[in-house]
Amino acid sequence: MTGLEAVIMTIIAAATPLLLAAIGELVTERSGVLNLGVEGMMIMGAVGGFAAAYVSGSAMLGIAAAVGAGVAMSLLFAFLTQTLVSNQVATGLALTLFGLGLSGLIGEAFTGLPGAKLQSVHVPGLSDLPLIGPVLFGQDVIVYASVALTALAGWVLARTRLGLVIRATGGNHHSAHALGYNVIAVRYGCIAFGGATAGLAGGYLSLVYTPQWIENMTAGRGWIALALVVFSTWAPRRVAVGAYLFGTVWIMGLYVQGIGINIPPQLLASLPYLITIAALVVLSGDRLLTRVNPPACLGQPFVPDR
């Protein structure tokens, strides 16, 4: 493995969980729901995935459990905010706190244990090409899934009836209801999708990134994902750009430190945030997108009149 190859591989590894969590939250927010519990869903995915993989010995089962844990958390959020019409901001924050606490409790038995690492794909011939081989054909399935899900979300939102209904629900839930769409059901679906990708992002952390369980191992990535959604003006393509940019600056900072260049570590640590925000602010200069994309009903409760 050459130096450049290693850098690219670590950037992809750093960007993937951000991209996964952000694309799910993007879909959730486009339907008009603000779920601040991304961090909590991620950490539950991480501990659920690790536990299942450790007990069963199968990393694939671990992935399934991570997704399941994320969905379960999101459905709890959906039940509280959509069915019981609780405040979305408060409920989302509570979901994060709940997830961090519960994952610590569950994970205590697994701390320090070696996990089952998800193996990378190997395509004979292709994966052995220099540089391109491992980067394009030697990743694990979650990396491919993150890219595929982002493309899928972009396509569905822009080109399909399902996407139009999701955007309509987020834009004006009263009108969507008047047209006969089931606003609550659409939102349940989008929240669950957000939970699935956040859970998968968490699973990636505990099964690939650092294949073991460490308490609070999400380390604020859920919050970064939330910020990426807003700064990318709810556009899937920009979420991908933002996630990879963040990953790149982050990893480059580590390398710069490793080489021994003397930059205050606090500045280095803050650079990914600063550069990502600056880049996305420049990107969001497009007036049309900033007018059209923000969901007008974001965070507003909806009660159908019957």
Binding site: R167, S175, A178, G180, V186, G189, N293, A296, D305
Partner: protein, 571 residues
């Protein structure tokens, strides 16, 4: 979870449920070159009569509909029968139960009791999608459009069948041209005028080849020319055999357009009449249940001093969907009422906010009140100069819903009425006394002493918020949509109060969408369109036709004139 049409059963017990209005283009089955007008209506109705003779020829019958919301009975045994090819008016004051009834027919609400019959067969309309499958289309008063979506996307949301925006866009263009409702499929709704938005709703209904089209106060937001165009479209639809249920406050247009009328009062049907043989006054009497007071006024030219002066006021738009004010100039003299006409969303609220001081003008002398430049002064400073402001939104802007009336009095008068606040303390005695006085002078009917603002009906709250300001005897009154959505009795009272105020020497500026109101009270009329204000013409020298053209933007002769340098450049 995605397509509600896929799995919601419209429980249709009638024989031969109507088939899905799939992808067949509109126009098939209807002669597209049919002449517009009333000539064919009798024929169309006659054919339908023959076909449906077994149920009396009715397309839709609502029988003894009852709808209760808690203790409140919105519909109390309402029956309504509609025939194909007929335009049927549904009349009534606010709160008479019109909207509730049509929502039940459209499936948006379920009746507490009573039944619906479609072509003689009993149906239960579970939701709007089921109504659309039956062939019922509805154009809402407050449009059910999505601002951030394009016209064709908005239409696609209501269309069953395969999802193909390009093909649908072509159909939209064709059908909209066919019915004289030009529409650009790719245009973003937020960029469209209210009239154009309504076209989207109508075209959306037309594409589904409705058998019954419900229109909820469609002309409230249109210029007179747009309304005339709409009538042509509706007559044409009726001529093709479509039934139209037409809700309106405007009795003249009901007389002009409708074949039958059902009048609701307090949730009950009080009469079924032929609008052509009635007068507007007799219809109003049926709606209100009493004679409606007529505003007494004669337009006159005032030569009093200029009390409110706006010169070259330009303001950028506050939000992405707002309107920028472009070099607005206007003088209002003591003793006159100047009205500003215009279609909603053309800068009225922006102008009101600039006048009231909620948004500050870029230059101090852009706005003068009673001779004092105050463009950069806040609301309280302007009130101290003798100005009073009544915003459009009663609940939430004029009044705090959860505050009692006496506290709401305090909100706008704490600075101008010394007696209300003394040494930092609020005098409840005084605020209650004022609230009571306003209630007495302006006939504000409340169920108990000093209730919360939210407990008042729209008309009573409007009387209160207008009365609260007029009770101060202000020298300048600026009021936005003085009688919007208010019943006829309250509207007459508010208008009379404004006229009396002006005759007593105050300068009154009324921003309104209601041309009837404007011509009833105004001495001079200006028109606002896309943030530009026309000259103010004496009311007797300008007719509806001219105002309508100005509302549509006819005075935008020189774009460059509107973008003249802001006033500070000259100051």
């Amino acid at each position: 979870m995605t397509d509600p049409r896929a799995n919601d059963p419209a429980t249709i017990s009638a024989e031969g449920a109507p088939d899905e209005p799939g992808g067949t283009p509109v126009g098939t089955g209807r002669s597209s070159d049919e002449t517009t007008g009333d000539a064919n209506i009798a024929d169309a109705a006659g054919i339908a009569d023959a076909a449906d003779a077994q149920n009396g020829g009715y397309l839709l019958e609502a029988i003894d509909i009852v709808k209760r919301f808690g203790d409140f009975t919105a519909n109390d045994g309402v029956s309504l029968k509609l025939r194909p090819g007929r335009i049927h008016a549904l009349l009534g004051e606010n709160g008479a139960g019109k909207s509730t009834l049509v929502k039940i027919i459209y499936g948006a609400l379920q009746p507490t009791a009573g039944s619906l019959r479609w072509q003689g067969g009993r149906v239960s309309v579970a939701n709007p999608a089921a109504a659309r499958r039956l062939g019922i289309g509805m154009v809402f008063q407050h449009f059910s459009l999505f601002e951030a979506l394009s016209a064709v996307e908005n239409i696609a949301l209501a269309m069953p069948g395969p999802f193909d925006l390009a093909a649908l866009g072509e159909r939209v263009t064709r059908v909209s041209a066919q019915y004289g409702l030009p529409l650009e499929p790719g245009a973003l709704v937020a960029d469209l005028s209210v009239g154009e938005r309504q076209r989207i709703e109508i075209v959306r209904c037309l594409l589904q080849e409705p058998r019954l089209l419900i229109m909820d106060e469609p002309t409230a937001v249109l210029t007179p020319q747009e309304a005339d165009q709409l009538f042509v479209t509706l007559r044409r639809l009726a001529g093709e055999g479509c039934a139209v249920l037409y809700i309106s406050h405007r009795l003249e247009e009901v007389k002009q357009l409708c074949h039958e009328a059902t009048i609701l009062r307090l949730g009950r049907v009080v009469a079924n009449v032929d609008p052509e043989t009635e007068t507007a006054a007799s219809l109003a009497r049926l709606m209100v249940g009493a004679d409606v007071h007529e505003v007494s006024t004669e337009a006159h030219a005032s030569d009093g001093p200029v009390m409110l002066s706006v010169s070259g006021l330009s303001l950028p738009s506050a939000g992405p969907f707002g309107v920028a004010l472009r070099s607005v100039s206007l003088d209002v003299r003591a003793g006159e009422i100047v009205a500003i006409a215009g279609v909603a969303g053309n800068g009225q609220s922006e102008l009101f906010e600039a006048l009231s001081g909620e948004r500050l003008a870029p230059a101090r002398d852009a706005i003068s009140i009673a001779g004092a430049p105050c463009g950069t002064a806040g609301v309280t400073a302007r009130r101290r100069l003798g100005a009073a402001f009544v915003p459009e939104e009663r609940l939430g802007h004029s009044a705090v819903p959860g505050f009692v009336l006496s506290d709401n009095v305090l909100l706008t008068r704490h600075a101008s009425d010394r007696a209300m606040v003394g040494g930092g303390f609020v005098s409840q005695l005084e605020t209650r006394a004022v609230a009571k006085r306003v209630g007495g002078r302006f006939d504000v009917r409340t169920s108990r002493e000093n209730p919360e603002a939210s407990a008042l009906s729209g008309g009573n709250l409007q009387k209160f918020v207008v009365g609260r300001e007029l009770d101060r005897d202000p020298r300048i009154v600026v009021v936005n949509q003085p009688t919007w959505g208010v019943d006829a009795g309250a509207a007459a009272l508010v208008r009379q109060a404004l006229v009396d105020m002006a005759r007593a020497g105050a300068a009154v500026l009324a921003i309104s969408q209601d041309l009837d109101e404007i011509f009833e009270i105004a001495d001079r009329v200006a028109v606002i369109s896309r943030g530009e204000l026309s000259e103010a013409y004496p009311a007797r020298d300008i007719d509806r036709e001219r105002v309508g053209l100005l509302m549509a933007g006819a005075h935008e002769t020189g774009e460059s004139a509107g973008r003249a340098p802001p006033p500070e450049a000259r100051a």
